[in-house]
Each structure stands twice: as C-alpha cells, then as structure tokens.
Amino acid sequence: MSIFDYFHNKKTNTASLAKERLQVIVAHERGKRSQPNYLPKMQQEIIEVIKKYIPIDNDQVTVTLDNSDNCSILELNVTLPDNT
C-alpha cells in the first residue's frame, strides 16, 4: 500500500458486487434444480397476459413452486411499476 492510498477514495469494491450477484444467481439455480419443467413457460405466458394491461419488464414477475411435506405451494410474485 502506498502513502497516497490514505488520501485516495476507496475505489468501488467490485468484489462485493460480484458476491452479491453470485448469491442471487446460485440460490436461484439451486432452487431451479428442483422445479418442474413447465415453470419457465408458464412464467412467460403469465408475463404476456399482464403485459396486455400493465407495462412490465420480464424480470418483474417470478413463479416458484415450493414442495414441503404435505402440500405444494405455487407462488406468483408480480412487482408493479410505480404509477399504475
């Protein structure tokens, strides 16, 4: 480390950004390994339907299937844009 590092602004810590991205994507992929195959298509079709009425992006809708002991829960998350 040089003397100038004391006065230098700490550069953006790209490693922590990378870690954040990885945590999200790895969790997502681990989850996906136990999901049935039809979910991506179903998600896309739901997005298309909502898009007819409200303008949203593809990543504002998520569909997940939770298989616990005696029941399965299909969870649908839709994040609407600010002014609806």
Binding site: M1, S2, I3, F4, D5, H8, T14, A15, L17, A18, R21, V24, I25, H28, E29, K32, R33, P40, K41, Q43, Q44, N58, D59
Partner: protein, 270 residues
C-alpha cells in the same frame, strides 16, 4: 448474410468468454448487429460476463428442442441495442446439440444479424466441435504458455479438417491469433514466450495482444465486458482487435513493459 466467428482455444481458462463478450460488444459499438451464442451447454458463463444472468428465461437448448422460439430466448443487452445474447442451458448436456438443429438456428440468426459470435467451450469434444463447425472465421485465443500454445495448434488442425468449409472444399476458415494475458516485463526478462515465439509456432496472422490486466477481473465482477471500460488497457487492446477484424490497420500497443519511476511507484502502481 451474417459472418460467423468462433472464439475457441482448446485450452480452458485462457479468455474465450472474456474475448467473445468484448469483441461482440465492440462490433455492436461500431454499428453492427451482433449476437453472441454460448456453446457451453451445462456450464454457462457468458450471461454472467455480460451481466444478464437474471434475465435468462429460455436458452439455446430450449430453442433447439422447439420449446421456445429465438425471440423468446434472445436477450437484448441493456447498454447497446444492437447487441444480443443467446445463453446456454444450465441443466442439459451436450447431447442436446445436433448439427441440423444448430444449423437451423444459425440460418435464422443470419437473416437479421451482421455478426454471430460463437463462444466455444474448452476441449475438443462435441461442444467445441459444434461451435466451430459452421464458422467463417476463427479467433484462436492463446496464452503465452506451453500447454495453451500446443492446444491452440491442435484446435487449428481440427478447424482445418472438421469444419463445414473443410468438408465441402470451400474457402478455408479464416484464422486469427489472439494472444491474451500478455505480460511484457516477463517477456523482457525472458520468462514468458514472446509474440514472435507464439507466431512462429502457430503460423497464423495476429489479430491482437491483450495485456494481463486487473480490469478483466473487475469487468467480470461487474458483469460489464472490459471493452466498455475505456481507460483499461485490456479494453483498448480489444478495441484495436475489433478494428483489425474489420480490416483496419492498427499498430500493436501494450507490447512494451512500462518503465516505472520512483514517483509512479509512490502513486501505487504495481
């Protein structure tokens, strides 16, 4: 009709995906509609390097199996609307790739794109062979290191004999050498193979020399191809390479070791 360029190497970890991302982005920045395809079925990483990992809904194999159409699978880059990505499948394996299927997709893409970049997986097995089979041009990514050079030579042999152009007797695939992770001071010390050494052994035209740079790791952390970082030496070197790919003559930079005086060392340069 699109130009199909495969980015391949034989050896793993030399910078194929970094290069595919940088050169694909570079071509789009110059106004050419470009798509980058990840051929590493089961181990996708192009989406991470491009920063679009959260927008992957459908992938290459879904399109191959008619589970989705191309428009549903293609991801438009947020930085440049001429740049698109076709991600690989993370759950299937290479058996899903068939020559007819891949050809069909490439033909469809060729109708609307200027450049199709095929990011090859490492090795010489099915995934790598499929990535290079339909290529018009090949960028052979090589580190100045013995096993990388030999593997690059091997992949050149395969390009010459197992590509569609070779099998039909058409004009051979145009080969380019891209030397990556080049460290001029180590070359000056005689510890690293020089550009001339590698050119002598591989005997193909040099497209570019990308210096070993911290900016490459930062770029993948951020999910932003290094060519978008205009201050980075690696980014600039990739930009020069894109120019040469477009047949412009550009002098080679970053080949000489920087002479660091005392002042620069105080400033924290390494």
């Amino acid at each position: 009709m699109a130009e199909i360029i495969v980015v391949t190497s034989g050896k793993g970890g030399v910078g194929k995906t970094t290069t595919s991302a940088a050169i694909g982005s570079g071509l789009a920045l110059r106004g050419h509609k470009t798509v980058i395809i990840d051929f590493d079925v089961g181990l996708r990483n192009l989406d991470l390097i491009m920063g679009c990992e959260r927008r992957v809904v459908y992938d290459f194999v879904n399109v191959l199996n008619d589970e989705a159409n191309l428009n549903q699978a293609l991801i438009k880059d947020k930085r440049n609307n001429l740049l698109f990505i076709l991600p690989a499948s993370q759950t299937r394996d290479k058996d899903a790739l068939t020559q007819e299927g891949v050809q069909k997709i490439l033909n469809e893409l060729a109708e609307s794109f200027d450049y199709i970049i095929c990011d090859s997986p490492a090795g010489i097995e099915k995934g790598a062979q499929m990535a290079l089979y339909f290529a018009d041009q090949a960028i052979v990514v090589t580190n100045p290191e013995v096993s990388s050079v030999r593997d690059s030579d091997r992949i050149l042999g395969i390009l010459q004999s197992k590509s569609l152009r070779a099998e039909t007797g058409a004009e051979p695939v145009k080969e380019h050498l891209l030397l990556t992770r080049y460290n001029p001071s180590r070359v000056a010390d005689g510890e690293m193979l020089s550009v001339a050494d590698v050119e002598d052994i591989l005997a193909i035209p040099l497209l570019g020399v990308i210096p070993e740079s911290e900016s490459v790791l930062k770029a993948s952390n951020l999910g932003e191809p290094v060519i978008f970082d205009e201050t980075a030496d690696a980014g600039q070197a990739y930009s020069d390479a894109v120019s040469r790919l477009l047949c412009e003559e550009v002098e080679f930079r970053f080949l000489e070791a920087e002479k660091k005086g005392l002042f620069k060392r105080l400033m924290g340069a390494r």
